[in-house]
Assembly symmetry: C2
Homo-oligomer: 207 residues x 2
């Protein structure tokens, strides 16, 4: 139990230390930083969070976070509707967009199959992906851009089995990403190349 | 320039990444964590910050952050008014309070003399400390509990020179804290002992 001279301070530190990877000392450092800013700056910070929390929407096509019913990528005429890149979450969309190598659209699974954490296929947007493919004549290729971890491989294999009946090209990003690494921490060049050199899905590379 | 699918998301990530030590990727991770909480939880987080920023006060005696004009420590009859422990900022107060070894009062300098960062004695509450000592017959001892860095030593030496005329016992916390370490990262036992084994200020130990 930490002792603070102010209940207001204590409450702010406790709120900050609920964030993942933020301990009490870091929380206090961040709160003291906030205290050195003027009130308008702090309010801008707080408002941006509460607005996001209240008003956040998810794209009805790709399930990415979006301000509208259809996200900017799904509604852009410059994005190729024939290629859908399947990713775990929005951080992977950001990482791939930063490479500038992908001009298709996305499908955000909202997680990854992980029996250890009790996350099964039904918790992800896999049904929605099947419906999306079934309802679209434009989609020709699905790229599986998942982390090269056991969970990523499991999810990729599950998706491959589910999508096989649709008679699409199913590809995986090139394994330039070191095995065991999380996708979002890959450098932009490696990740960009892994999009360019994607290969046809092959059961022997999946395991 | 990062690309996000939502302006609301972008604005929240940008606000988070202004915090010290928080890059864009960590900011996105924290914001996505926030998004998984319900709106009330996010509002509690935001409100705790804006309230602190709007309503924060500083104790008129010790200059610590306080909810009232006089902080809980300065107004407590159980705290010994004859010993004043001088620290750099509130993180050091928290660290010393956590040792349970100090029962006197504090004086928070609000920083440390650092020519490199352009922080001089006039930027700190040193004048207020002199006034506080001059206006009180209770204070018998001042403990200098500063980091064992060059800035801490400089500040300690400056304070020693300023406080010498008051005919007080001036002590420094025992150098159990490894030279070069920041005070706030010391473990509680080392820091607690350094309060107990404080020694009379001696020009030969100051350098």
């Amino acid at each position: 139990m930490e002792t603070y001279s102010s209940k207001l301070l204590q409450s702010a530190v406790e709120e900050f230390s609920k964030l993942p990877g933020i301990g009490k000392k870091t929380a206090l450092r961040l709160v003291l930083h906030m205290l050195r800013q003027d009130t308008e700056t702090v309010e801008r910070f707080s408002d941006s969070l509460t607005r996001l929390s209240r008003e956040v929407k998810y794209c009805r096509e790709c399930h990415n976070i979006s301000d509208h019913g259809l996200c900017e990528i799904c509604s852009s005429p410059r994005r190729d509707p024939s290629i859908v890149c399947v990713v775990e979450d929005i951080r992977d969309v950001v990482a791939i967009e930063n490479t500038g190598q992908f001009h298709g659209r996305y499908h955000v699974l909202g997680g990854i199959i992980s029996p250890m954490e009790g996350i099964g296929p039904a918790d992800l947007t896999i049904d929605a992906l099947e419906e999306r493919i079934a309802g679209s004549s434009a989609i020709r290729e699905v790229i599986l851009a998942l982390s090269t971890t056991m969970e990523g491989d499991t999810t990729g294999f599950y998706l491959y089995k589910k999508l096989q009946p649709f008679n699409l090209k199913i590809s995986v990003i090139a394994r330039g990403v070191a095995i065991g690494d999380e996708l979002e921490y890959a450098d932009e060049i490696t990740l960009g190349r892994s999009i360019i050199h994607r290969t046809a899905y092959d059961l022997t590379t999946a395991k």
